[in-house]
């Protein structure tokens, strides 16, 4: 301890030896999160699922996943086909791997779109208030008033079949993936917009905002650099749960026949294809169903844990 004879003591203490450095929000959250067993479990499972879908692609090629060995159709799980084969003889294991890629990508990108739209609208409405707020909120309410599934169906028909195949990440998949991502994004941003708006409404009266304005910071900077980071908590929770919702929405819309079209596989359309074989070929629905369940479950756990970790008032921590 280096103590000088300087008459002003505070500045010369070696802070490290007196107290621990203050934790950042991230570190604090992580600590609280770690204690939530289910959330940790969820996080681990999610990581495994991602490894399965994206890592599995390194083991089994896409050509193999699409290879239809018709004489072997609907064979039950065996050594050669651990998850069995589907109605035209494709290996279910491989299809769940590649289908998982699409389902997970759909989940993530739909949430991305949802976030961009929701945050923008919510921030603008909350920050500017007045007429802008009224107009944007009316629009949000208008969209909210239409039940999601109706919107999904109508939009799926509207955009259906209009987008050609795309080539990305070394894979070629049907344009309907883009359609699904867009329509899920377009139908679920409303809740986020409301939450963000509420945050902005309460935060914009704070002193740090006044200070920023006083120093001449542009509105854009205030919104995105100052207020937004402070409202990250509800956004993160909503985004996490949004992924689960997107994956489920994809399953629903595929069940109604309007989702991603085969031969591109997704967990959702694999379930749809298994509809008529509930009894005779349970492996067709069991594996994709289990994977959807695990994914959505772990995301829900994760979201639950995040919510508890980020919200200081909750008793769970």
């Amino acid at each position: 301890m280096t103590e000088t004879a300087d008459p002003i003591p505070v500045a010369s203490f070696n802070q490290d030896e007196l107290e621990t450095p203050p934790l950042t929000l991230g570190q604090l959250t992580w600590r609280r999160f770690r204690r939530h067993k289910m959330a940790m479990f969820g996080a681990v499972v999610l990581i495994l699922l991602f490894l399965y879908s994206f890592g599995g692609a390194l083991v089994l090629s896409e050509k193999y996943a699409n290879f239809a060995d018709t004489p072997l159709r609907l064979s039950s799980p065996s050594l050669e086909h651990p998850f069995g084969t589907d109605t035209i003889g494709r290996d279910v294991l491989a299809r769940t791997i590649y289908g998982g890629q699409i389902s997970l990508i759909i989940g993530l990108t739909a949430v991305l779109i949802e976030n961009i739209i929701g945050i923008s609208i919510g921030a603008l409405a909350g920050y500017y208030g007045g007429k802008v707020d009224a107009l944007l909120m009316r629009f949000t309410e208008a969209m909210l008033n239409i039940p999601e599934i109706f919107l999904l169906i109508v939009m799926a028909k509207y955009f259906g079949g209009k987008i050609p195949e795309i080539n990305m990440l070394g894979r070629e998949f049907s344009g309907s993936v883009v359609v699904i991502v867009v329509i899920i994004g377009l139908t679920s941003w409303m809740y986020l917009a409301r939450i963000v708006r509420a945050e902005f409404l309460s935060l914009k009266e704070n002193e740090f905002v006044l200070a920023a304005r006083a120093t001449g910071t542009s509105n854009f900077e205030i919104i995105f650099r100052h207020i937004l980071p402070n409202s990250i908590a509800p956004i993160m929770v909503a985004a996490t749960l949004g992924v689960a919702n997107a994956i489920l929405a994809e399953a629903y819309i595929s069940f109604l026949g309007l989702g991603v079209q085969p031969p591109t596989a997704t967990w959702g359309n694999m379930l749809d294809g298994a509809n008529n074989y509930l009894e005779s070929a349970p492996w067709l629905w069991f594996f994709p169903g289990l994977l959807i369940l695990l994914t959505v479950l772990s995301i829900n756990f994760l979201g639950d844990g995040l919510r508890d970790a980020l919200d200081p008032r909750s008793r769970a921590a």
């Binding site: 239809a68 028909k157 259906g160 079949g161 031969p263 509809n275």
Partner: protein, 563 residues
């Protein structure tokens, strides 16, 4: 402690309540289940015989002329009749007429434009009004009246006049000799005595009560009620002019989901299932149901778009089209994906052996032969990417069909097999209201965006008439409703098609069709994938049920239920 006890109490009360309710409901159904079983046993105390049919789509209308839905058409063998109907071999037999008009009995005039029908004198509506030639005239008038929202005016708009020299004779005069009259006329009769006053009062019969609730009919059953979304009910017509029906009541339940229909059939909740998918056949057979397959003229076809201006240049060459036919293992698809139940149709008139004579055979599955043909046609893989090309154009074809599992499965297999011979098939599954949208609505098929179109179709069964390939039917801005979505203008084919529709003489018509058949084979304008017959699942209690591909339930009065 205290509240925990309370919580348990609440739980107990709820559970008891639940048990009481379910017991009541169970009792209710048990009491009702007994008569249900009894209705199946004719020997039990006076219980009704009720047959339950499952329809996977609900009818849109029950009135003749107003709907083209298969499900609606079935009801016209219940509470209405065609002038002549067709049996399980799809041969015609007279129903409301005494005999089928022909040249020999003077029913068809020499020049082929006039058909004279002699009606039976004992036919009457269920309210005892006799059914006479006036009802036929009225039906024709309603079909062609522009004030009525009928589904189709064909072929009534080709008729110049319908007259009745006496109440039992109907004289139909066409503008031109019309060969397909037997299959297309008089699909159900409208009761003039009920509807004509309405037409005269309102100018249209669109809003007539009878259209939605046709309680007066001339068939073996009477319509009773139609509860939207749930069921429709028909009871035996005690006033029927023919042999009375054996079964007392027919219930039709609407179950939209295929899996639910199969579950209901297996559980014994119904006596007849419709449009059964081939994949469900083994399971249903195991559960004790009989599967009946009835040809109806429909088959699944791939149609080529062959046109210099808007089509793919490869398809202009008949060798390429032949190669496509030889590269797909159609027998294999039928065997593996369709349970081997239907056959691969070689001719568009597969279900009409009279016109498919001598019968065509299929191009064999011969991928090597296909490769040779493609090489010969000049399509070789110059750039080594696995897809053949010529003059810088890749042999990449757009294939489109509607969204149905079997089609998607077949498409995937075809894509793979064509890929093996170097043809790249891009699959486009499209929702059916979008797929079949017209040229005016920018329907992609109508606009010629697909090189290969696929859907289930056939001639105007049981008549061999066709019209898709007429040059005059090519859609354009001037004629946006044109139906030649293949943009094929083959002059020889066009002349033959036009000729056959005027040939009332059956022998001459047959010769024309032999030529048309051969032309389709040589030019490979179409490739047959599988036959698409009606597939019924008949419960073990329902006997005597026969089905026709045209007038589906033609012998419904003879159906019976045994325990």
């Amino acid at each position: 402690m205290y509240h925990k006890g309370n919580l348990y109490r609440v739980f107990c009360v709820l559970i008891i309540l639940g048990m009481i309710i379910s017991a009541c409901a169970q009792a209710a159904t048990e009491v009702d289940v007994v008569p249900e079983k009894a209705t199946a046993a004719p020997t039990a105390p006076p219980e009704k015989k009720v047959a339950t049919l499952i329809y996977t789509q609900e009818f849109d209308s029950l009135a003749p002329l107003y709907t083209s839905m298969w499900f609606s058409w079935t009801t016209w063998q219940m509470n209405n009749h065609w002038a002549w109907e067709f049996d399980e071999k799809n041969e015609p037999f007279p129903r409301l007429v005494t005999e089928i008009p022909s040249v020999e009995n003077g029913g068809i005039s020499e020049d082929g434009t006039t058909i004279t029908m002699k009606l039976r004198d004992d036919i009457k509506w269920s309210d005892n009004t006799p059914l006479t030639a006036d009802d036929f005239i009225f039906t024709w008038e309603m079909a062609v009246s522009p004030a009525n929202l009928v589904a189709t005016t064909y072929p009534y708009d080709m008729i110049e006049s319908v007259t009745a020299p006496d109440p039992q004779t109907v004289v139909v005069k066409f503008y031109e000799p019309f060969a397909p009259w037997l299959a297309n006329l008089w699909h159900g009769i409208l009761p003039a005595h009920i509807l004509r006053p309405i037409f005269e009062a309102e100018g249209t019969i669109d809003n007539a009560e009878w259209l939605r609730s046709p309680t007066v009919g001339c068939g073996p059953y009477n319509f009773v009620e139609w509860e939207s979304g749930s069921y429709a009910r028909y009871v035996r017509n005690e006033n029927y002019w023919g042999t009375p029906a054996k079964i007392d009541e027919i219930f039709i339940r609407f179950v939209p989901d295929d899996a639910s229909q199969v579950a209901a059939l297996k559980a014994g909740d119904a006596d007849l299932g419709t449009f059964i998918a081939y994949s469900d056949v083994p399971g249903l057979k195991e559960a004790g149901l009989n599967i009946v397959v009835e040809p109806n003229g429909y088959s699944e076809w791939m149609f080529f778009l062959v046109n210099e201006e808007i089509g793919h240049p490869a398809l202009l060459d008949v060798r390429v089209r032949k190669a496509v036919a030889m590269a797909i293992d159609r027998e294999g698809i039928v065997r593996d994906l369709l349970g081997g139940i239907p056959k691969v149709p070689a001719s568009f008139w597969d279900a009409l052996p009279f016109y498919n004579d001598p019968p065509l055979t299929n191009y064999p599955y011969d991928p090597e032969g296909a490769k040779d043909l493609l090489d010969e046609a000049g399509w070789i893989d110059a750039d080594g990417d696995g897809v053949r090309d010529k003059d810088g154009v890749a042999l990449e074809l757009e294939h489109a069909t509607t969204i149905r599992e079997i089609r998607q499965d077949a498409q995937a297999v075809m894509q793979q097999q064509l890929g093996e011979v170097g043809i790249k098939l891009n699959v486009n599954p499209v929702d059916d209201t979008l797929y079949f949208a017209s040229y005016a609505d920018n329907g992609p098929a109508a606009r010629g965006e697909y090189d290969i179109q696929e859907w289930s179709d056939g001639p105007l069964f049981p008549d061999p008439d066709i019209y898709y390939w007429l040059c005059s039917e090519i859609p354009s801005d001037e004629y946006p409703t044109g139906e030649n979505w293949f943009y094929i203008c083959d002059e020889e084919l066009d002349a033959l098609i036009q000729l056959q529709s005027t040939q009332v003489n059956v022998t001459e018509r047959k010769e024309t069709f032999t030529k048309i058949n051969q032309l389709f084979y040589d030019q490979v304008y179409i490739i047959g994938l599988w036959q698409d017959p009606d597939v019924y699942a008949v419960g073990s209690h329902l006997v005597n049920a026969k089905f026709s591909g045209v007038t589906m339930f033609f012998n419904i009065a003879e159906w019976d239920l045994v325990p």
